[in-house]
């Protein structure tokens, strides 16, 4: 066959260049800068044990942010997982405090998480409502229900159940280990399995994905279920770390989760992003937050920095992606 196509293809950009303008590179550089700045701000900052310990405080959110990354890549968003964490944790704690055996109580918490994911999935996929508004509604509802259940009091968990963050594996707290392991697993799933591949394809072009025989509704449904479930796991982990549960557990965590995903270069309109990016961004966020806290920086400045980072991150990712798009 003759090739008569006269339209020249664009020459491929060299690999080092594509690597340099990846958003993950930006995240990594920011992380380096953050560590440097932290060590300049306070002499107490640069201590690996302290950073690890600080990370445990954010590890539950970071774990959920990994799944959220997949949800965003698939072209949706979920703002409710932090509220989900609170409600599942409250249900779990309330169940075990009212005498239900621990395994059953944990089961109740996890089932509640799944159910909350199911409600989101049903409204977004079956009713085809925009996920962003739906999850703002469910975020209010879930946290509200947590408040109904727990009131203003905290519910204690038994002494033996406390301290998931005190379990060390090779000197690393268990929640951090879980985060790292989950990140590895999800990175493999997202980058190496057909399930992950199809998540990118749905997020890039859902119509084309359907035409290619990809069951996008099913995949999105499972992602919402997954994030609901993982949020409940994270909620119960938080309960173990704190030793008690209140309705305001992980309050405002949705901002942190979205921030981790966005800072890691996940594209808000779907189709792009990596687990590596979110992994780095989680550390970046911890470094920035703890750096400022240990330097006794006014918490107000932290709010400004976090809000500003979110906006800068989406502007930067948008620019990077629009450059590589054509």
């Amino acid at each position: 066959m003759s090739t008569l196509d006269t339209t020249p293809s664009t020459p491929v950009t060299p690999r080092w260049q594509t690597l340099l303008i990846r958003p993950e590179t930006m995240t990594f550089l920011l992380l380096v800068v953050g560590i440097f700045a932290g060590s300049q701000l306070s002499p107490f900052f640069l201590d690996i044990n302290y950073i690890l310990k600080s990370f445990t405080l954010y590890s539950e959110l970071a774990i959920v942010a990994l799944i959220l990354t997949m949800v965003i890549i698939a072209g949706e968003i979920d703002l409710s997982p932090a509220a989900n964490m609170a409600l599942s944790a409250c249900l779990f704690a309330w169940a075990q405090a009212s005498g239900i055996p621990m395994p059953v109580a944990i089961g109740i918490g996890l089932a509640a998480g799944l159910l909350m994911g199911l409600l989101n999935a049903w409204m977004v996929i079956s009713l085809q409502l925009p996920s962003i508004i739906v999850t703002i509604g469910t975020l209010t509802l879930y946290r509200g229900l947590a408040q109904v259940i727990a009131g203003d009091k905290s519910i204690r968990v038994p002494e033996w159940f406390i301290g998931v963050d005190k379990i060390m594996i090779l000197g690393i707290p268990l929640p951090v280990v879980l985060f790292i392991v989950l990140a590895l697993v999800l990175a493999v799933i997202l980058g190496g399995t057909i399930f992950g591949r199809q998540i990118y394809q749905i997020g890039t072009n859902e119509t084309a994905a359907r035409y290619a025989g990809i069951r996008s509704a099913r995949i999105k449904f499972s992602l919402f279920l997954l994030i609901g479930f993982v949020a409940s796991v994270a909620g119960i982990m938080t309960a173990s770390r704190l030793g008690s549960v209140r309705y305001d557990l992980a309050l405002g965590g949705e901002l942190q989760m979205v921030l981790m995903a966005m800072l890691g270069g996940t594209y808000i309109f779907g189709g792009r992003g990596t687990i590596l990016g979110t992994f780095l961004a989680a550390w970046l966020l911890v470094v920035v937050s703890t750096g400022m806290i240990v330097a006794n920086v006014l918490p107000a400045v932290q709010l400004v920095v976090l809000g500003g980072l979110l906006i800068v991150a989406i502007i930067a990712t948008n620019l990077i992606y629009s450059r590589t798009q054509r």
Partner: protein, 468 residues
Amino acid sequence: MGENGAGKSTFAKILAGVHRPTRGTITLNGKPVDVTSPIAAQKLGITLIHQEPISFPDLSVAENLVLGKADDGWFSRVPWAQMTREAKALMDLLGVKIDVTRPMRGLSIADQQMVEIARALASDSRLIIMDEPTAPLTPREVETLFVIARRLRDEGRTIIFISHRLEEVRALCDRVTIFRDGNKIATEAIANLSDADIIRLMIGRPFKEYMHKARAEIGAVALKVERLSVPGLFQDISFEVRKGEIVGLGGLVGAGRTDVARALFGVAPAASGTLWVDGKTVSINDPSEAIALGLAFVPEDRAVAGIFRTLSVEENITAAVPKQIAPSGFIRRAIERAMANDSVRRLSIRLASLRQPIGELSGGNQQKAILARWLLTDPSVLILDEPTRGIDIGVKAEFYDMIGELAASGRAILLISSELPELLALCDRVLVMSEGRLTADIPRAEATQESIMNAAVPRRVAFEGAAA
């Protein structure tokens, strides 16, 4: 008038300021004018009535009439009473009964078009361009439209009426201009042209014989369709496609061909009708089910339904065969690369790297990659919807060769195309659809541009005293 893609709509949009011309001048009432935007067009008294009316569904009819009409400052008052009064007067003038205070949402397309016409009147347009306004209308509505159009003409307004319905053009127009392949072919008083003349002028490109491969053995029935219907889109479609056979599906844009294909493939399943694949009755409710049955579908609009623009060529090619590249769920890069490489070689896709985003390829190579995607599924029935649209002439020839080869290897092919020479060159039979119905099944021997066009152009029986 003109065939699909002759450039009628684009021309109309340039006149109305939606697109800018690269060169040339527009002369209006003897003066050269520059139509820079839709608003400028409106100020010049030019109104374009789009094929699918553009409206603001949540605003009232009256508001849709005046919106964008006069731009006298952001905070100037909206004169509701006057607006409603004027809108009512316009509707009365047009003789249509539409409550002008109701929102546009829920109006029939015909009524929406009436609103568009009223809008042209409201801004006192002297030149009204109607782009295929009758396509979605019932005969009675067409008649109403024509009565109004004639009255507007009698008032001294100019109307450009774009259509491919011979009868309508004959019934309404004084002169006809025929476009073909972006060129003006002829302008003539309608009385001087016979139907045959017009059809000849529309299609009259010199018939170019494409190389056609040796015909394959035509085998058993691979796909059979009976009385397939989706209310509002198409009715009672019945046909069959045999192994090794290339069946063309011709017709004008909007005839419902793509809708049939989408129904076959389970994208938008049919409301009623029966399907057989390889002699077995099947029901297909999702593309994945169609694929499992050995169907493949190269859709018409690559950007919307075909490619994953930002993903790699490799990933685009292997998108429909997850089980082959990932037998255990984990992607086997080596297999994937080998399959993609093989496809690239077989279809001679020009690219710099398999890892390159497909959006960087030329249109023809993107289309080849989509075809490659479907060939990997080893389909027994291949539906191609305008496979060569927007592709260079040289690459087209490659596609023709490939389609021939695919049939020769025993696949059944349903080829939807608006290009008559393409249908004539490739097909063993040509089915023609018009207004949602199958109007002809022409064997290769009898297929000519004229015979296809004759079946494709809708002919309305009665305009006079039309009772639907």
